[in-house]
């Protein structure tokens, strides 16, 4: 593909410099001066009210839109000096509506669509398809017609198809909207796995609990500009600022923030486990004979003993 992308050379995955974008030449600017840099390997949540410019921002990163002014650099290359197709090997984009991204008759063909367009050999295409299917757990759906699958499965097909292009950066635009809890979890687990493999992950979402749990950093947009940019803990510790862009910290963080400080519990707790752990350490004694579930399991698996009567619930 494009030799300009020196994958090992740049530490900065995406650099946005004074980006401005307006859909109409003399109309309101969708983005009015946005600047930030995302290093390789970060997991970033992008939040903000509807119309704040989140989707517009994503489109400039993948090259669908070019800046009205300012610069967008992906993998060291200015998006104005390359094509959308060339950028696809560097940054993959899963949009809000998976139905608009399914073109083929079978799941396998769908995943192969991208690699085929990249001109890879049949052998390589087969490998990429296998990898995509393995990554997203779609073995049983290989030969299904993608639009006939359930919502969560369709979303995973699109993710697999994007992964088959082997991009360094994965962008998920509202991946959990319209998904049930199980589907949302599945998708976020995939995102986490990608992150653990070293990829850069960007997620645009309204679900603050997800941002708090999976992302390390949050960029908050408000009316086309960056309102806050920092670690998720730092960002969620400013609810009054977040309110301006109609964002609230997850319920558990709100709880932590409103507890009396003398209790000694972390006011910046981001997950149920974090706050729960702190309470346990302050109050309870850890039992050694009980299996404590990992953080990405939904609910307690152990039958809970009613302490008063000693029976299983």
């Amino acid at each position: 593909m494009n030799e300009v992308f020196q994958r090992t050379a740049t530490a900065v995955a995406i650099e946005i410099e004074d980006l401005e974008y307006g859909y109409q030449p003399h109309g309101v600017m969708a983005l009015g001066g946005v600047s930030f840099a995302i290093r390789r390997g970060e997991f970033v949540g992008i939040v903000g009210h509807n119309g704040a410019g989140k989707t517009t921002l994503l489109k400039t990163v993948v090259g669908l839109l070019l800046p009205t002014s300012g610069r967008v650099t992906v993998g060291g290359v200015d998006t104005r000096q390359t094509t959308v197709a060339d950028l696809t090997t560097w940054v993959g984009f899963v949009s809000q509506n998976p139905d608009q991204q399914l073109f083929a008759q079978t799941v396998v063909e769908e995943i192969a669509f991208g690699p085929r367009n990249l001109g890879l050999s049949e052998e390589e295409i087969r490998e990429r398809v296998a990898m995509g299917i393995a990554m997203t757990g779609l073995e049983e759906f290989r030969h299904e017609f993608p639009p006939a699958l359930a919502k969560g499965d369709r979303a995973r097909v699109v993710i697999a198809s994007v992964l088959a292009m082997q991009p360094e950066i994965i962008i998920l635009d509202e991946p959990t909207t319209g998904q049930d809890y199980r589907g949302s979890r599945q998708i976020m687990q995939i995102a986490r796995r990608l992150h653990e493999e070293g990829r850069t992950v960007l997620v645009v979402t309204h679900d603050m609990a997800l941002v708090a749990e999976y992302a390390e950093r949050a960029i908050v947009l408000c009316r086309g500009q960056v309102l806050l940019d920092g670690t998720t803990a730092t960002v969620f510790s400013q609810p009054e600022v977040l309110r301006r862009t109609h964002v609230m910290p997850p319920q558990i963080t709100q709880l932590a923030q409103t507890l009396p400080p003398e209790l000694g519990l972390p006011t910046d707790a981001l997950t149920v486990e974090q706050l729960g752990q702190a309470v346990v350490e302050r109050v309870g004694q850890r039992r050694t004979d009980v299996f404590y579930p990992r953080t990405d399991v939904f609910y307690p698996r152990v039958p809970l003993k009613c302490r008063d009567e000693g029976r299983d619930v």
């Binding site: 993948v62 669908l64 094509t83 959308v84 197709a85 696809t88 090997t89 993959g92 984009f93 949009s95 139905d99 608009q100 991204q101 399914l102 073109f103 083929a104 008759q105 669509f113 991208g114 367009n117 990249l118 639009p147 198809s161 994007v162 292009m165």
Partner: protein, 268 residues
């Protein structure tokens, strides 16, 4: 293609006409256009329609876009008619050698053929311009009401006018899907040849149709849930009224269409 034939708010006289008179105008003129045989009459009709367009203060860019959209068909027409029209004044001698079965000896391009093709193209363009004249100066629900007052059952009228709304939706949707394909390194629409582009349409069509079907199903549920088609005596909060100007316009339309038809028989 950016041409959209959706309603453009405005205050021109054309906008203020009752939809019934506009519909009648459209039907009469379309009928008349189908009758035209004379090239000069065709030119005159097209010019007057463009004049109306200006009177309605509609953007001429749309006419240009409509013309561009028709270009493919026009070229096709030209080629077919120019070659096959039994004319007398040959411009280019037989192209296909005589020994070829069935079409041997044909392929001469005649002047008459070229002129006929031109006539057809002008007629086509005129027809394509008439509908937007009405759809762009009339809000959809008023148009529906006009059809109902002219005697169409409500559900049928609604179906007809809803089709107008669908065009821009499908255009936007197609754009979104094309973008999604570009994001999978699909470059045929940018770099491919004509044949490649043709082959590229099926992958685009599937998501478009499925999306349209899903949306249609949801719309149907929403409409049923609001009692669509329930009563034979549907009421309307906004009614329409024929005024003097409307009758004048209808009278004018009859005369106009009549003149075009008369030309057919008077001028050869």
């Amino acid at each position: 293609m950016k041409a959209t034939v959706q309603y453009v708010p405005g205050k021109s006289a054309f906008h203020r006409l009752d939809p019934r008179s506009k519909i009648v105008f459209m039907l009469l003129v379309t009928f008349a256009i189908l009758i035209v045989q004379n090239l000069w009459v065709a030119v005159a009709v097209l010019l007057t329609l463009v004049l109306f367009w200006g009177l309605a203060r509609l953007p001429f860019s749309v006419v240009a876009d409509l013309g561009k959209a028709m270009l493919g068909i026009v070229v096709f027409l030209f080629v077919v008619q120019a070659l096959l029209y039994p004319g007398k004044t040959a411009l280019i001698q037989p192209v296909i050698p005589r020994f070829v079965p069935f079409i041997g000896g044909r392929g001469q391009v005649t002047l008459e053929g070229v002129l006929f093709a031109l006539l057809l193209s002008l007629r086509l363009l005129a027809m394509v311009v008439v509908l937007p004249l009405v759809s762009m100066t009339t809000p959809v629900h008023i148009l529906t009401l006009g059809l109902v007052r002219l005697g169409l059952p409500y559900r049928l009228a609604y179906t007809v006018t809803t089709a107008l709304n669908l065009i821009p939706i499908l255009q936007i949707e197609a754009g979104v899907i094309r973008d999604a394909q570009r994001l999978r390194a699909f470059q045929v629409f940018e770099k491919g040849g004509f044949l490649d582009k043709l082959k590229a349409y099926p992958p685009l069509v599937t998501p478009l149709i499925i999306g349209a079907m899903r949306r249609a199903q949801l719309m149907a549920i929403a409409m049923d849930s609001r009692a669509f088609g329930a009563s034979g005596n549907r009421t309307y909060i906004q009614d329409i009224r024929m005024r003097a100007g409307d009758w004048l316009f209808i009278g004018f339309s009859i005369l106009y269409a009549g003149a075009i038809v008369a030309m057919r028989f008077l001028v050869r």
